[in-house]
């Protein structure tokens, strides 16, 4: 283990059980290193002795240093970190596009460092698909043929794969663009073609490298919900890279924070927010828009007995229980009646009166900085933790994302 104290995960922050099945990891990464350059093996040796990325500069670029984690079947695992911290390098090793300089990556029971080329192709066809940071669409193929590409490689008959690819395109809102070429689309649309392609492949593990970075806030939100839906219904395992903390908090069952090639902390969004492993992580999450981490569920109050709110007005306003606070203001402003909160089945589970919403925005009087992780129990109205941030959220844009 490295001797640099700031780089070691705190003991308390290592794997905590999430909603996913932790007994059968879908992906496991064990002491993985990736060094580019002239003398990678020597560099790894120095790194294991505790050298930092800068120390081994003359031997090569240490893109990933001693990464270890397991991602459970059905989990969304988010990787965050500044530009150049090694996120893309890490994700590329998860499907064997790049070979680790040292360490092991396993997909299910297959160790990628020992499988032969044929088995590796089979894994990529059936187990792992990928959304590329820079889209990597085939420029000479139509949007539909791009989305159908993985299915073509899987050997699916043409009609079947066209149907499936069309479905995937509709999922990302590009149903009408099937016959266009990628060059005729805007940046965000291209990214969605990349998404549709990975979704069409229908593998149980999805690697998503800044898959939403070029999307506008509306579509981005929609895609996030779809991803969560996919995970809930089909138990997909998702490894998701993002620069957007709020997105990370919203999507991630667990979040890994990377710095200069090392993973400095792994934990749930709650853990990362409340017990940052070091100043770097604390600074990293300082900007978190807590109104996006808190959800409707956390501020709602039980509905008054016998009242059916939806009956009182035709244009009944309701929100899902996992809607973040940030998205409650507009509907709350539109009607004087309390906002209804529905669960996934559409049943009324609570209401949010305006005053409860406003109360939630007042910097907290409670000493404990509690935050709401998706899926945890409703706690009724509570104060937001003290924060220097303005209460109202800014647009959900990427911080320093490279498109």
């Amino acid at each position: 283990m490295p001797a640099v104290p700031t780089s070691t995960p705190t003991p308390g922050s290592t794997p905590t059980p999430g909603p996913a099945d932790r007994s059968r990891p879908a992906v496991s990464v064990e002491n993985v290193y990736k060094v580019f350059g002239r003398r990678p093996v020597k560099a790894v040796q120095r790194l294991t002795e505790g050298a930092s990325r800068d120390d081994v500069k003359n031997l090569g670029t240490a893109a990933v240093i001693d990464a270890s984690f397991e991602v459970a079947q059905g989990e969304i695992f988010v990787v965050m970190g500044l530009s150049g911290s090694g996120k893309s390098t890490l994700i590329r090793m998860l499907n064997g596009l790049w070979k680790p300089t040292a360490g092991h990556v396993r997909i299910g029971d297959d160790d990628l460092s020992t499988v032969d080329a044929k088995r590796l192709r089979a894994l990529r066809r059936t187990r792992v698909s990928m959304v590329f940071q820079h889209f990597a669409l085939l420029p000479h193929r139509t949007v539909l043929d791009n989305a159908a590409y993985p299915l073509e490689i899987q050997g699916m008959p043409r009609e079947q794969r066209i149907a499936k690819a069309t479905e995937a395109l509709e999922m990302v809102g590009l149903g009408g663009w099937a016959d266009s070429l990628p060059s005729q689309l805007s940046g965000g649309m291209r990214q969605r073609v990349g998404l549709a392609r990975a979704l069409a492949a229908d593998t149980d593990v999805l690697l998503m490298d800044e898959a939403f970075s070029a999307l506008d806030p509306l579509i981005r939100r929609e895609m996030q919900e779809q991803l969560l839906e996919l995970q809930r219904t089909l138990h997909k395992t998702i490894i998701f890279i993002t620069h957007d903390l709020n997105e990370a908090m919203h999507l991630g069952d667990r979040i890994a924070v990377m710095r200069d090639g090392r993973i400095v902390q792994i934990g749930t969004s709650e853990e990362i927010l409340s017990e940052p492993a070091n100043d770097y992580v604390a600074q990293f999450v300082a900007d978190v828009d807590r109104t996006r981490v808190l959800t409707a569920q956390s501020v709602m109050v039980p509905p008054a007995d016998g009242t059916t709110y939806s009956a009182t007005s035709d244009d009944s306003q309701y929100v899902e229980q996992d809607t973040p606070l940030a998205e409650l203001f507009a509907p709350a402003a539109e009607s004087a009646a309390p906002l209804e909160v529905h669960d996934d089945a559409g049943d009324l589970v609570g209401v949010i009166p305006r005053d409860a919403l406003l109360e939630a925005m007042v910097p907290g009087t409670e000493p404990e900085t509690t935050t709401e992780a998706p899926g945890s129990d409703a706690r009724g109205a509570m104060g937001a933790p003290p924060t220097d941030e303005p209460a109202l959220p800014g647009p959900a844009t990427t911080k320093g994302a490279t498109a």
Binding site: L97, R121, R124, R125, F132, A136, L138, P139, I153, S183
Partner: protein, 307 residues
């Protein structure tokens, strides 16, 4: 006449053999090459006979097909091809150009040259494209082949004629062989460049979804490299054509004949008639091949990308 050229060259080498005028001893480099060529000639005699027979057959067959029908038929067919590839304007232009060639009484020579260009380019590409693919996918191969290509490209074209003549004697065959060697390099280079230029992430996408290397080559690398490869094809054809005149010196039939003849007789009129025919043929081939390159579906798709 050919033998005369060869002897003169041999004599000048002998004259210089005594003294290099420097401290460096005379290197018998030329002798080495000559004995190597002699050795190759005698050892692979049978092989060369077969090669010669095949090339001669191909040349005679295609030349017959182009020269036997009346001028107007062949000209119309070629103009129609041009029109199909690049529109009616080029079709009409080609027809006018062909009429000018015929008017200068060079039509038969032009068809012989066209035959030589087609056969030499086809062989050159048949060799160049696979070699280019190989060098694009294998860094060692690339490092090995590059100096060979440099050599082939910078060596004066004339020089190839000598071993070709030694091995195949006179006629169309040494012309074809020398042309193939001379025109090969850009075919390899453009193919390699085109494939290497394909965005690495797009190739990775192929790998990421489990495609085989061969399939990535067919479905991603070659289509995306096609515009560059077609530029290489165009270069190969142009270089072949530029070799036509030189091939005339070893007796290859075609537009080289009037040019070489005019040189020995200082016949300006004849020289320009032959030369101008070469120019017309060159423009025709260049426009048609570059139009074909632009018409491929991939090129069209990529063109919209940059639009």
């Amino acid at each position: 006449m050919i033998t005369a050229t060869a002897t003169t060259a041999g004599q000048s080498v002998l004259a210089a053999a005594d003294d290099t005028g420097t401290f460096v001893p005379r290197l018998p480099f030329g002798d080495w090459v000559e004995s190597a060529v002699d050795w190759v000639t005698t050892t692979f005699d049978a092989v060369f006979d077969v090669v010669k027979a095949i090339l001669e057959g191909a040349f005679d067959g295609l030349e017959w097909a182009l020269q036997t029908p009346p001028f107007i038929v062949v000209a119309l067919v070629l103009a129609l091809l041009a029109a199909l590839a690049a529109g009616w304007k080029l079709g009409v232009g080609s027809l006018v150009g062909f009429a000018v060639i015929a008017g200068m009484d060079q039509w038969d020579n032009a068809m012989a040259s066209l035959t030589l260009v087609i056969i030499a380019s086809a062989i050159a590409l048949l060799i160049a494209i696979p070699v280019g693919i190989w060098t694009a996918r294998n860094d060692h191969a690339s490092r090995l082949v590059r100096p060979v290509l440099d050599f082939m490209q910078t060596m004066p074209a004339f020089v190839y004629l000598l071993p070709a003549v030694v091995i195949f004697l006179t006629g169309a065959v040494p012309g074809i062989v020398a042309t193939v060697i001379f025109a090969l390099a850009p075919g390899v280079r453009f193919t390699e460049l085109g494939i290497r230029q394909v965005d690495a992430e797009i190739v990775e996408a192929g790998h990421a979804f489990g495609s085989t290397r061969g399939r990535i080559l067919r479905q991603i690398q070659l289509p995306l490299a096609m515009p560059t490869i077609m530029a290489g094809v165009n270069q190969v054809i142009m270089l072949s054509l530029s070799m036509v005149v030189i091939a005339g010196m070893v007796g290859a039939p075609g537009l080289g004949q009037p040019v070489v003849e005019s040189l020995s007789r200082i016949d300006v009129a004849l020289g320009f008639e032959g030369g101008f025919s070469v120019v017309i043929l060159a423009i025709f081939l260049d426009r048609v091949t570059s139009a074909l390159a632009k018409r491929s579906p991939v090129a069209k798709a990529l063109a919209t990308a940059s639009a």
